[in-house]
Amino acid sequence: MSIDKTSANVDKTTDDPKGAPVVNPEAAAAAVTAVDPRLLVREQGLLGYWSEFKRKMKAGELGSLPVIVGLAVICVIFQMLNSNFLSAQNINDITVTMVGTGMISVGIVFVLLLGEIDLSVGSVSGAASALMAVLAVNQGWPEWAAILLAVGAGVAIGALHGFFFAVLGAPAFAVTLAGLLFWLGFMLKVLGEDGTINLDGDGLVAKLTTYYFSDIAAAYGLAVVAVAVFFLTSFLGNKRREAAGVPSRPLSDTVLRTVLLAVISFAAAYMYNQYKGLPLATVVFLAFLVGTDFVLRRTAYGRKIFALGGSVEASRRAGINVTAVRISVFAVSGGFAAIGGLFLASKIASANQSAGTGDLLMNAIAAAVIGGTSLFGGRGRTWNALLGVLVIVSIQYGLQLQSIAEPVKYMITAAVLLTTVVIDSITRKTQKTAGRA
C-alpha cells in the first residue's frame, strides 16, 4: 500500500539498459503522464530506503516496527538475566508452545479486520478439544474423524455467532460474550464428572506438538523452498508488471527482501537443528499463516473483508454480500479457535476443565493487536498473529526462567498490551493527519 512500490520505474525503463524492453510504448508514455509531480518518489539505492523510512515514521506508518523492536528488547533483557533464554531448546519450546494461542489469534485477526471482536474463542477452543477427546478416547472414534468433527464444530459455532451478529444485528461483543459462557458450560458438560480426559500419547493429536522432523535436511529444505518460492514469485510478478507497463519494484529491492528472508529462515533452521529438529507444530502454523495471508491479500474474498473493515456502506453498494462475509469471518474465527484448542490439548496431552479459560482469550486478542492488527478494522495481516504471540510467549518463558510468579506475569503482559493499543491509537491519529488512515 505504500508509495515506494510505485516508485519511478518509469524513468528506470529508459535509462537502465538492462531493463526489460518497453513492450507497449503507449502504455509507458501514459505511465509517464500519470506520475503526479507532487507524488513523493523514493530515491534509488540505500539512501532512498533511509529517507523513505524517516518519512514513514513521521507519517505514523509504523507497521510491524514496534513489535520487532519490542521482540529484540525482550530477547536482550532476558538473555542478560539468564543465558538459557536464547538456547536452542528454549526457543524451540517457545515456538511450539505459541502455536495453540497463535492459531486462535489468526482467527482473531480476521474478526479484527472487520472492526469487530470475538470474545468466545477461548471457550470455543476448550469446547472443541473436549469434544475431540470425548469422541476419540471415550467413544473410540478414529482420531482423524474426531479432529475433523471438532474443527467442523468450531466452524459451525462461529457461524452461529456470525448469524446472530450479521442477520439479527446484535453487537458482536455481546453475542460472543454469551458464547464465551455458553461454550464454557458446554465443555464442562461434555467432559462430565471426571473433568479430565487423557489423550493417547502416540495419537495424532499428541503428535501435533511432540513430533519433530529430526532429519537436518527437513529444516534446511523448508528454508530453501521458502526463500526460492518467495524470490520466484516476486521476480516473476515484477516481470509481469514490467510487461504490462505498470510500475514495478527494482530488482535490488526484491534481492534485498529475499536476502533478509533467507537470513531469518536459515538462522531458524540452524537453531531448530541444534535441538530436536523442525517441529511439526511450527510447520503447520507457518502453512496456515501463508495460506490465510494469501486468502486475505490475493483473493476477492479477502478484499471483501478489508472493504468491510474500511466502510460497510461502500461495500454494500459495491454489491458485496455483507451478511455472508460477516458470517464466514466468524466461522473462520471459530474454526481457528478449534484448531488452536487441539494444539493446546496436544501440549498437555489431555482435555481438561481449565482448557480455554484463564488468560487464553486475552492473550489471543493481545497477540493480534501487539502484532500490528488495528482494533479499528481494515488494517492488519495474519503474520501479525505470529509476531504478537512470539512476544507474549517469550515474555512468559522469560519470566518463568526467572521464576517470577503468575501475578507479575499478568501485570507485565497487560502493560505490553496497553502499550500496543496506545501505539495503535496514536498511529491512527498521526495517519489521519498524514492522510493515511
Binding site: I3, A34, R316
Partner: protein
C-alpha cells in the same frame, strides 16, 4: 440535439417510498432515454437522493413500477441494479478509505485469474481508464484516505464507468470540485451522452444543469413538480418549480427567493 430513442432506458411509474412515518416519495414518474442527460433537481429533502437510491437498489420501492427498456423489473438489491447496467456515484462517495485506488475501482467486480486477484491487469486497466478520462491522481496504489475530496470524486466517477453501464446516476458530482475539475466532470457527462449512455444528474448548481442537461425533472416534497426542456425553459421557471411557486402557501416566499436569485 442528440437522437433520442422511443423506448426509455429507465422509466419510473407511480413510485412511492416510505420511511416509517415519512412519505419520502409519492407517485413519482421519471423517464430517461439513451443518449439523454436528465437533471434531477429539487430542494434539500425533496427526495432526490431517495429516488436515486431506489433506482440503485439501496432502498427497494414500496409501490409503483420500474421499467427497464420497456419491461417491468424488480430492483431489490444493489446487485440487481448493477446487473441491469445501472451505475451510481453517490454524494457520499462510498469508497473504502483503507483500500488503494485500484482496489476501490474494482471493488465488487475484481478481475481474477485462476481464482486469484489479477492485480497487474487491474492496475493496467485503472491507469488506462484514468488516462482516457484525463483524471490526474498521484498514484493508483495509494489508499483513498490520501486523496483530496476532488480526487476522490473523480475516482468515484471513474469507478462507475468500469462496467460500461447503460445508465449512469451522478449524485451532486460537482459539489466538492474546483473550477477545472467541475469542467472536466461536465465534459465527462457530455462524453457519456455522446457514447449513447443515459445519465441522471442530480445538482443544485443551475449553471451545471443548463450546461449539460437535456431535460430537467423537478421534485418537490417527494412529488413530481414538472419536467422541462432545458433549451426552452428559463432558469427562473425551473427555480420557481423547485421552490414551489405553484404552491399558494409559499408563493410570497418563493417570489422573494426568485428576486434574490435573479439579482
Amino acid at each position: 440535439m442528440v437522437h433520442v430513442s422511443a423506448t426509455p432506458v429507465l422509466a419510473l411509474r407511480g413510485v412511492s417510498k416510505r420511511f416509517g412515518a415519512v412519505q419520502a416519495l409519492t407517485d413519482v414518474e421519471l423517464e430517461v432515454h439513451a443518449g439523454e442527460v436528465v437533471a434531477l433537481v429539487g430542494d434539500n429533502g425533496a427526495g432526490k437522493s431517495t429516488l436515486v437510491k431506489t433506482i440503485a437498489g439501496v432502498h427497494p420501492i414500496d409501490e409503483g413500477v420500474i421499467e427497464w427498456d420497456g419491461k417491468p423489473v424488480s430492483i431489490s438489491r444493489p446487485h440487481d441494479a448493477q446487473a441491469l447496467g445501472i451505475a451510481t456515484v453517490y454524494q457520499d462517495l462510498a469508497l473504502c478509505d483503507n483500500i488503494d485506488v485500484v482496489g476501490n475501482l474494482f471493488l465488487g467486480r475484481e478481475l481474477k485469474k485462476w481464482g486469484v486477484l489479477d492485480e497487474v491487469e487491474m492496475e493496467r486497466r485503472s491507469r488506462e481508464l484514468l488516462t482516457t478520462l484525463s483524471i490526474r491522481i498521484p498514484s493508483v496504489r495509494i489508499p483513498i484516505a490520501s486523496l483530496s475530496g476532488g480526487q476522490r470524486q473523480t475516482v468515484a466517477i471513474a469507478r462507475s464507468m468500469l462496467g460500461d453501464p447503460k445508465l449512469v446516476i451522478l449524485d451532486e458530482p460537482t459539489a466538492a470540485l474546483g473550477v477545472e475539475q467541475t469542467a472536466q466532470v461536465l465534459d465527462l457527462v457530455e462524453r457519456l451522452r455522446e457514447r449513447g449512455h443515459a445519465v441522471i444528474l442530480i445538482s443544485h448548481n443551475m449553471a451545471d444543469v443548463k450546461a449539460v442537461a437535456d431535460k430537467v425533472a423537478v421534485l418537490r416534497l417527494g412529488r413530481n413538480n414538472g419536467v422541462f426542456e432545458v433549451k426552452t425553459t428559463s432558469q427562473e421557471e425551473i427555480i420557481s418549480a423547485i421552490t414551489g411557486a405553484t404552491d399558494n402557501a409559499v408563493t410570497r416566499r418563493a417570489a422573494r427567493t426568485n428576486g434574490e436569485v435573479s439579482q
